[in-house]
Structure formats: C-alpha cells, structure tokens
C-alpha cells in the first residue's frame, strides 16, 4: 500500500506494480520527468484517461442526441395529438351541422307535405261547395220553373226537399271531416 512517507516516485511505482492508473486532471499536474519508468507510467495514465474520456464523451453525446430526438418526437407527438383533437372537434362540428341540416330538411319536408295536404283539402272543399251550390241552385230553379208554369209539382217538391236535406247533411259532413283532419294534424304536431 502507498504510505504518506513514500516519495511521489515510490507511490507511482507502487501503483504501477498493482496496475492502478491515475485518472482525471491530477495526471496533468505531474511534472515532466526524465525517469523512463515514471514517464512511461504517466504517459500510460494519460492515454488511458484520454481513451476513457473519449469513450464517455461519445456515449454522453449519443445519449444527448437520443434525448434530443426523444424531445423532438415528443413535440411531434404532441402536435399530432393536438391536430387529432382539432380534427375530432371539426368532425363533431360537421356532424352537428349535418344533423341540424337534416332536421331542418325533415322539418321543411313536413311543412311542404302539410301545405300540399292543406291545398288538396282546400281544393276538395271548394269543388264540393261548388257542386253543392250548383246542385242546390239547379234544383231550386227547376222547382221555381215547375211552380211558375202550374204543372204538378209533388214529385219535384219532395225531390227538392230531399235533395236539399242531403246537400245540407253532406255540407256539414264535409265541414266536420275538414275540422277533424285539422284537429288531428294540429295534435300530431
């Protein structure tokens, strides 16, 4: 073992015999010597130190590079996640918009159907009313004509009365049906 009483040379030679080599900047503090044995040992220490530092430097640089790459990958990943989230939000917004448009289209179609139905009912009512008015008017004219020329009016009288009754009943029936349809439509809405 190296003792505090040993000279530097003795200490160095003891270390050399045990194959222990000085590491770090301490080697740089050792002055140049002409003693071949000590000189060779110091040179060996320096070479080993440089080789070890080179090795460590390469590994550190590699780790540093990998860390940088990981950081970059992490940034890219984060950007992708944000992009995906944005796309998802955009898709959801588009879906919502499409649903709204669909609902609006369904509503428009429904309104159109109702309007068509209303227009049809309106037409039916008009035609029915014209027919009722026409038949009523024709029968009345015929009845007045028969009365005015003085011929037997028994048949036409009962016919006019029956026809008028039927027309009146049918009129109420039509009005009732229309009111019923209108009520049912309003209720379904």
């Amino acid at each position: 073992m190296i003792s505090s009483k040993d000279t530097v040379k003795e200490a160095i030679l003891k270390a050399k015999s045990k194959k222990v080599y000085i590491e770090g900047n301490f080697v740089k503090l050792l002055a140049k010597t002409s003693d071949t044995e000590v000189k060779d040992y110091i040179e060996e220490c320096k070479t080993r130190d440089i080789n070890q530092r080179r090795k460590r430097l390469d590994i550190t640089k590699q780790v540093q590079k990998q860390n940088k790459e990981l950081e970059e990958a992490s940034v890219i990943k984060e950007a992708l996640v944000i992009e995906l989230q944005n796309s998802l939000e955009a898709t959801e917004a588009a879906k919502k918009e499409a649903e709204e448009l669909r609902d609006k289209a369904v509503e428009d179609l429904d309104t159109l159907q109702k309007r068509t139905q209303f227009e049809l009912i309106n037409l039916i009512v008009r035609v029915a009313l014209w027919i009722i008015l026409g038949v009523g008017l024709l029968t009345t004219i015929l009845y007045i004509y028969v009365l005015s020329i003085g011929i037997d009016s028994t048949i036409i009288e009962s016919t006019w009365s029956n026809l008028f009754g039927i027309l009146l009943t049918n009129s109420f029936s039509i009005v009732g049906t229309i009111m019923g349809v209108k009520y049912a439509t309003d209720k379904s809405n």
Binding site: N25, K28, D49, R53, T60, K61, Q64
Partner: protein, 145 residues
C-alpha cells in the same frame, strides 16, 4: 491551460460533454459546472464586493437560455461584468445563433459566443488558441461556428 473554469448551463448532460472535451483538449484543470444562473449569482455575490480578492474562476461560459433560472445568460454576464467586477474571461455557449442576442451579449461585455453542436471540440480548441487574447483584452469579440 485555464486553472479554473465555470460553466453555467441547465443541461446536465452537456456538463459531462464539456468537462470531458475540456480535459481531452487540455483546456482547463478544474471545471465547476452549475445548473442555474441563480446559483452562479449567489457565488459571485458572495465573492464580490465583500471580498474582491477572493479566488474566482478565470473563465466563465454561460448558456443563453437557462431553464429554471431568474436570469438568462446575457443578464448573467451583465451582472458579473458590471456588478461583481470585470475580471474574468466571459462569454456565451449556446445552440442559438440569433444575431440580435449576439449583439446584446456584446453590449454587456461578452468576449465570445460559442455555438453548441454535436462536434464541440474543434470550437473549444479554437477558443483555447484565442484565450490569451481574451485574458489580455486584446482579442475582439468572436463567434465560434
């Protein structure tokens, strides 16, 4: 060879790279690597002005952006140069090469700007060749690319 050198950089891995590169190139005997400018500021504050003769680093390398610190590299240089005495060779070591920042560093008294890269050794070697000029204040501001 520089006896005492201080590195202020938040990246611990770079401390190892810097120490090994400096040792291999025989640039410095002793390197003190600090993580933050606050830590460096506390040390300089303690050394100066109460004890202007206190042993101080002969050369200081400061990173431009020191994450988790109160001051960036430029402010650190300004403090060391103007508040604690302008006695050491000081400059920036950063991956940035922003001309605006370089001008700011020059204005506060930085003597050099070393751009960090995977291959830092040639730049440090070049810096080492110019070092005496920085000590004598005869070398102009230089960017090591």
């Amino acid at each position: 060879m520089i006896d005492t050198l201080m590195l202020i950089d938040d990246e611990n891995l770079f401390h190892l790279v810097f120490e090994d590169a400096c040792s291999m190139l025989d640039i410095a005997l002793s390197i003190e690597a600090l993580d933050s400018s606050d830590e460096a500021n506390a040390k300089f504050k303690k050394w100066f002005p109460d004890d202007p003769d206190h042993e101080r680093p002969q050369c200081v390398f400061v990173d431009l952006n020191i994450v988790g610190s109160s001051y960036d590299g430029i402010e650190m240089i300004r403090k060391i140069n103007h508040e604690y005495g302008n006695g050491c060779v000081i400059g920036i070591i950063s991956s940035s090469s922003d001309p605006e920042e370089i001008e700011k560093a020059k204005a506060v008294g930085a003597q050099f700007w070393i751009i960090k890269s995977d291959d830092i050794e040639p730049r440090l070697q070049e810096f080492h060749r110019d070092y005496e000029g920085y000590v004598n204040k005869t070398a102009p501001f230089k960017i090591y690319r």
